[in-house]
């Protein structure tokens, strides 16, 4: 069990690194899709000892949404615009990796500073979640393309989701569904907006969207 969990966690970390190290947007989308699938599986691994219908349903929904639907949506958006690569990110790829390492260390520190009120199933889940969130934020901050930023947002959501799973919180499923729905809506609306942006501006470099300023 532990082996599996650790393997999944390591894979998740790798997908994060892949996200910030790759210039091809499609590769990034696939990395996020991969991450979504792994996250969907994670609750079944670290969750309660016995499988319940609810856990399975949630897991399936997550895999469907995060692993397939969102990537599909984004790929479609990617196809509609002529951009394939994140050419000149605000932070270069090598530097991004170094920062990623720093973020990982910070996430570890946070994990150590925050003692868990209940014995955790895996000590790595909390740092993983933190790291994923930070990577997501970093992607949003350091990339130019709107699509990459949406990816960053998705990764951030993933991190939060992972955090939620880490403790198998006794959240009523209604809320979980609500959260999923919201994430879905957010991505959906963002996708629509990206569509409008690419149509209106002939690009989707969000750093060039700076007409509104002081």
């Amino acid at each position: 069990m532990n082996l599996f969990t650790d393997a999944v966690i390591a894979a998740l970390i790798l997908t994060n690194l892949r996200l910030i190290a790759s210039s091809r947007i499609s590769a990034c989308i696939y990395a996020v899709a991969c991450q979504g699938v792994l996250l969907g599986v994670l609750p079944l691994l670290v969750g309660p000892q016995h499988l319940t219908v609810r856990a399975c349903a949630l897991s399936a929904a997550t895999v469907m949404l995060k692993g397939f639907f969102f990537p599909w949506l984004l790929l479609r958006a990617l196809r509609s615009v002529s951009v394939r690569r994140e050419m000149e990110p605000l932070v270069g790829y090598t530097l991004s990796l170094i920062i990623g390492a720093v973020l990982l260390a910070t996430a570890m520190w946070f994990g150590r500073q925050l003692p868990l009120p209940v014995p955790a199933r895996s000590p790595m889940v909390l740092p993983l979640a933190m790291f994923t969130i930070m990577v997501g934020l970093f992607a949003i901050v350091s990339r130019r393309k709107a699509l990459t930023q949406v990816l960053g947002y998705l990764v951030m959501e993933n991190g939060i989701y992972a955090f939620g799973l880490a403790f198998a919180l006794s959240e009523p499923s209604l809320v979980e569904l609500g959260i999923l729905l919201d994430a879905f809506m957010a991505v959906f609306v963002m996708g629509i907006t990206i569509f409008h942006i690419s149509r209106e501006f002939d690009h989707m470099d969000t750093d060039r969207l700076s007409a509104l300023r002081d």
Binding site: L90, F110, Q113, L114, M134, L137, F138, I140, V141, S142, R143, R144, Q149, T206, D207, L209, S210, A211, L212, R213, D214
Partner: protein
């Protein structure tokens, strides 16, 4: 109390009605002015009654506002301020009836009267309010009403600028007053003045802070240097009846605030008195100097308000010193002189601003150097302005002398005490200097505007003001003369107010004022004799000269040939010896383009040849030191800083999210450290 409250109600109500009449200018003008006059007069007579009786009246209602209550209190001190407020407002209303007529149709006179009556009502409310929140609301309503009146002619850039400076100054001043009351509330537990009074004497070291707050906050309204910068901007910009009210009575609410605060603070410290004396000197002397350097009539008068506020502050400072040093005579004379000067200044400054308004109304300009000879075309305005000018210079037998005389007496008393000698000496030198300079300034103002020959077509085409304006000015002039000649009877009502400020008993105050009263009585008698003497001598001269007067010639002028009106001395040249002496304070800027030689035109307007000089121009103006060198740089620095920080909102969403992330990081690290 109810009479005063209903008078205020009448003011507000008539203002509203006038506002609703709005575009129907005639009705708005009549209703507004009628309300202003009748409401103010009703209040005036009641206030005089209360002042003479020396009683106090209370009124209390619950009010659903946090910390607020509808508490009112009229004591002698409040009544002393109510008297000039209502009087000047009534007469300015009367004056405005004629003055505002030319605007009917072009501007919304309903709005004018709404704010004018609102200003009158709020000033009265400020003086009688006995609750901090109520006071603050009335105070700010007063400021806003006067702001809208100042910007009545807001089409002009200069008026806009003046309005902004005024609004900013008064608002920042109010901030200090808010803190003042809240600090009182912190100590006393309630914002009712009764609670403040109950806590008097138990304030401890807070009293010092409270006093400084009051001096800054109320001083900004009163026009203490260095908080005076709004006065010379706002008064010229406002319509003249408004300037009369603002300069005559509104700035006095600042004085009221300081005096009222003093009554809450209990036994004063010596340095408070010193501070007030110092403020009086730095307001009085630079005020009159700056006035001397002006050639805009209303700006000149505005700086004189600064000067007179300085004189009042000198009086109050002596009074505070007197209490602190246990010299009751000093206290009584200082407070008495200061408070009486409040009334006197209201009368003559109101009169002078109305005179300036008539000049502007009749001649179309306030620029002193363009005027001249108006006394022949505007005899009423000229005569009343002369009375105002003599009064403001503090010359006997008019009212300005009476209050200055009391303050001088206080100054001499201060010379008698060991620790107040310096104050006395400073005060006497200061007052004497102020008096001399004021005389210089008003001989200039009156002489250049009203005497001689017109210096431009403005002066030549002027006409006398309408009946309502003349009546208003005449009544104020009569007030100036009346207080001057009947001064002994004026002192005893003022004594009631002095009692409530100084905390001394009626008998003591009357006893201490007795020498002053008897002196004033003798002065009044001599003055009456002098007046008689002037009349007799004039008649006598008339007899002697009968049939031997030649008045067809021009001015002899030492035989100078063909003098023209352009060769007359101007206001600037008249004041030049004095302004040159005080150049470092006044910072006079001159613009003197070289003589223009019109070669290409061949022939200039006078028909002379091409080698003669054409037109020449010379212009000078005095910059306000504090506006240019203190406040201006501060405001510019804040603006520069703001512009430099604009990069924070540069439009890139990446940075925006970085801000969020960094905030989160910093907070997390701070929390988990």
């Amino acid at each position: 109390m109810l009479i005063v409250l209903s008078a205020i109600g009448l003011l507000v109500f008539s203002g509203l009605i006038s506002f609703l009449c709005g575009r129907c200018s005639r009705a708005a003008n009549l209703i507004g002015a009628g309300g202003a006059i009748s409401g103010s007069l009703a209040g005036f007579f009641r206030a005089v009654q209360i002042l003479c009786a020396g009683t106090a009246e209370h009124f209390h209602l619950v009010w659903d506002v946090p910390y607020g209550s509808l508490s009112f209190r009229i004591d002698a001190l409040a009544a002393l301020f109510l008297v000039p407020i209502f009087l000047v407002c009534a007469l300015s209303g009367l004056y405005g009836l004629g003055y505002m007529k030319p605007w009917s149709g072009r501007k919304n006179l309903g709005a004018y009267w709404f704010f004018f009556n609102g200003l009158a009502a709020s000033m009265a409310m400020v003086v009688i309010a006995a609750n901090g929140v109520l006071f603050l609301i009335c105070w700010e309503v007063m400021a806003l009403c006067s702001f809208f009146l100042v910007t009545f002619e807001h089409e002009e850039r200069s008026v806009q600028r003046a309005g902004w400076i005024y609004l900013a100054a008064t608002h920042i001043g109010t901030a200090f007053i808010i803190v003042l009351f809240l600090m009182f509330g912190r100590v006393c537990g309630s914002l009712d003045f009764n609670a403040f009074l109950a806590a008097r004497g138990h304030l401890g070291s807070a009293a010092d802070i409270l006093f400084v707050l009051a001096v800054i906050g109320f001083g900004a309204k009163a026009g203490f240097v260095p908080f005076h910068i709004w006065l010379p901007e706002a008064h010229p910009a406002a319509p003249s009846p408004v300037s009369a009210v603002m300069s005559g009575v509104m700035i006095k609410t600042g004085i009221y605030g300081i005096v009222r605060t003093l009554t809450f603070l209990g036994a004063p410290h010596i340095w408070w008195g010193w501070l007030l004396v110092a403020i009086g000197l730095v307001s009085g002397i630079p005020g009159v100097l700056m006035a001397l350097a002006q050639h805009d009539l209303k700006r000149l008068l505005a700086y004189h308000s600064v000067e007179n506020i300085g004189i009042i502050a000198l009086g109050l400072g002596l009074g505070v010193l007197g209490i602190a040093l246990k010299m009751p005579a000093l206290a009584v004379l200082g407070f008495g002189g200061g408070l009486l000067h409040v009334v006197n200044h209201a009368l003559f400054k109101g009169l002078l601003f109305m005179g300036a308004g008539s000049v502007q109304h009749g001649a179309g300009t306030r620029e002193i150097d363009l005027l001249g000879g108006l006394v022949k075309r505007m005899p009423w305005t000229g005569a009343t302005f002369l009375i105002g000018a003599v009064a403001i210079c503090g010359l006997p037998p008019l009212n300005g002398f009476v209050s200055e005389f009391l303050i001088y007496m206080g100054g001499f008393h201060a010379l008698g005490g060991q620790s107040s000698i310096a104050a006395g000496a400073l005060l006497i030198i200061g007052l004497a200097l102020i008096g001399g300079l004021a005389a210089a300034c008003f001989t200039k103002a009156f002489g250049v505007v009203f005497l001689g020959e017109p210096r431009s077509s403005h002066g030549a085409n002027s006409h006398e003001a309408g009946w309502s304006m003349r009546i208003a000015m005449s009544l104020l002039a009569a007030g100036c003369v009346g207080i001057g000649f009947f001064s002994p009877w004026v002192v005893s009502p003022v004594a009631h107010a002095v009692e409530s400020v100084s905390g001394l008993s009626h008998v003591v105050v009357q006893g201490l004022l007795a020498p002053a009263s008897s002196a004033l009585l003798q002065i009044a008698v001599i003055s009456a004799l002098c007046a008689l003497g002037v009349i007799v001598l004039s008649l006598l001269r008339g007899r002697m000269l009968s049939g031997r007067i030649s008045s067809t010639e021009g001015t002899w002028d030492c035989g100078y040939l063909r003098p023209s009106e352009k060769m007359q001395y101007t206001a600037s040249s008249f004041a030049q010896p004095l302004t040159a002496m005080f150049e470092p304070i006044l910072r006079i800027k001159t613009h003197q383009p070289s003589f223009l030689i019109k070669e290409e035109s061949g022939c200039d307007s006078h028909g002379s040849g091409p080698f003669f000089p054409g037109g020449a121009a010379f212009e000078s103006h005095s910059e306000d030191f504090f506006l240019k060198s203190v406040y201006g740089p501060i405001f510019m620095a804040i603006q520069r800083l703001a512009l430099r920080l604009r990069f924070l909102q540069a439009g890139r969403v990446q940075f925006y999210i970085l801000y969020i992330a960094l905030t989160l990081f910093v907070l997390l690290i701070w929390c988990l450290r």
